[in-house]
């Protein structure tokens, strides 16, 4: 990997967003993910290589460290923000079709539940793994999920719930999706959700952390 991609990967892993970011202290005053990505493109490095060789490996390291409790949610969010600083330069290439992503991932917090931090975290990690995110927000009813699925054939679905009481709506959402579409992959997550519950409601996969979802999606792509 070229030096510039190594620098970019390091910035994302440690949450160095741009030159103005004071963190991490050892990179103070130096370019961050924002400037380095811009420079990499100017030097002719392909957007796909920036994604595949710098951003995805960096976010995989972040996800792995989070799973092992080496870092916690705030550091993961810092890394995700640095990744966003890089991604904004790549988005035009995704939109033009010059650079392809691994697939589409529709995500939303189920009806009745307004919690979105866990959902946002998973969305950012999956975006960092090279997927296009269609974020439906919070308190998402089944009709909204069905419309998004209809508009994005073949997308993988992610359902989030934080409350034991709104898990019931997760079950209903899976039922309605299964009743209307066959062969779709549905992932579920959230603090009260377990693998046992995932199997009970006929979802395809549950992970207690975002990296598990990324690993699962990587097997599909």
């Amino acid at each position: 990997m070229s030096e510039i991609l190594q620098q970019l990967s390091h910035c994302v892993e440690f949450g160095k967003i741009d030159k103005a970011s004071p963190y991490p202290p050892d990179l103070k005053g130096q370019d961050g993910a924002d400037e380095i990505t811009k420079r990499a493109l100017e030097e002719g490095i392909k957007p796909g290589d920036i994604l595949e060789m710098a951003l995805i490996p960096a976010m995989a390291l972040v996800g792995d460290k989070f799973s092992r409790k080496v870092i916690y949610v705030p550091q993961m969010l810092m890394a995700a923000k640095a990744m966003s600083g890089a991604m904004k330069h790549l988005k035009p290439f995704f939109q033009s079709g010059e650079t392809l992503r691994k697939g589409k991932f529709i995500i939303g917090t189920v009806a009745g539940d307004l919690h979105d931090i866990g959902k946002n975290l998973v969305a950012m990690m999956i975006e960092g793994a090279g997927w296009e995110i269609i974020d439906l927000g919070v308190d998402v009813n089944t009709e909204k999920f069905l419309k998004a699925i209809n508009d994005n054939p073949g997308a993988v679905i992610g359902l989030s719930a934080l409350l034991t009481t709104t898990m019931e709506n997760m079950k209903k959402t899976v039922e309605v999706i299964r009743g209307n579409y066959s062969g779709l992959n549905v992932l579920v997550g959230g603090a009260p959700v377990t693998m046992e519950y995932c199997q009970k409601i006929n979802a395809d996969f549950y992970s207690p952390d975002p990296q598990g979802a990324v690993n699962y999606l990587n097997q599909l792509s």
Binding site: Y72, L114, L121
Partner: protein
């Protein structure tokens, strides 16, 4: 019917940045310099925007149904489940309470997230949660002192959505309180607005007790608070 209202200043809560770090998952004694600095800054901003208020109302016309683990206040019946029932069944009266950190902290959290600053939004969210729980602790301590002067005690506080009490019964709880109690409104799905609010029940009487920690009584093995504890 006794009804008390409390207004707290954010500084009354004595929240520390270390406490916020613990709530974000960092183990005791472990800190991360950038996160500490950001949390300290956000906490200063939270101090200015938190609007902490708590209220309780005490009801004496209560009846318990041991067979079905229900309690009735006036004409409103709650299916509180065996865990909460076991804790409050010896009460001679019940306090229904609400507590809020106000709209500002939740709005700042959402705004930061919308502007793609997930970290700041998350920290606002955590501070809001810690603040409302700390304010409820202060209210509960005041209630405990008040009761002790009459030779009576209090139980822990229990909220719909936890310990097997269905969150939808929040509507029943609010039906016993005056409109706009604590400035909180309920959504159709029984979530409170402002989001950084809590509500619930506390048992009162000479034969009840407040326990330091009740998770061992609970059969919700995946409850987020059990994991946190």
């Amino acid at each position: 019917m006794i009804h008390k209202t409390f207004l707290f200043d954010f500084r009354d809560l004595n929240l520390t940045v270390e406490q916020i770090e613990r709530a974000m998952g960092y183990p005791e004694g472990e800190s991360h310099e950038p996160i500490y600095d950001i949390a300290a800054r956000v906490m200063k901003e939270a101090e200015a925007i938190c609007d902490l208020k708590a209220e309780y109302r005490i009801f004496e016309n209560i009846t318990f149904d041991p067979t079905n683990k229900k309690v009735t206040i006036g004409e409103v019946t709650f299916d509180i489940g065996k865990i909460i029932f076991g804790q409050i069944r010896k009460a001679d009266s019940l306090a229904l309470f609400t507590c809020t950190a106000g709209k500002g902290i939740g709005e700042n959290s959402r705004r930061a997230m919308k502007e793609s600053d997930l970290l700041e939004g998350y920290i606002y969210d955590v501070i809001g949660s810690e603040a409302v729980e700390a304010a409820a602790d202060l209210m509960q301590n005041e209630l405990e002192v008040e009761m002790s002067m009459e030779g009576r005690k209090i139980t822990n506080r229990f909220s719909p959505g936890y310990c097997g009490w269905d969150v939808s019964q929040q509507h029943r709880l609010f039906s016993l309180l005056p409109g706009n109690f604590c400035g909180i409104k309920l959504t159709d799905s029984a979530l409170m607005d402002p989001v950084k609010s809590i509500s619930g029940i506390i048992g009162l009487g000479p034969d009840v007790r407040r326990m330091p920690y009740t998770c061992s009584l609970c059969d919700m093995k995946d409850c987020i608070y059990r994991r946190k504890g």
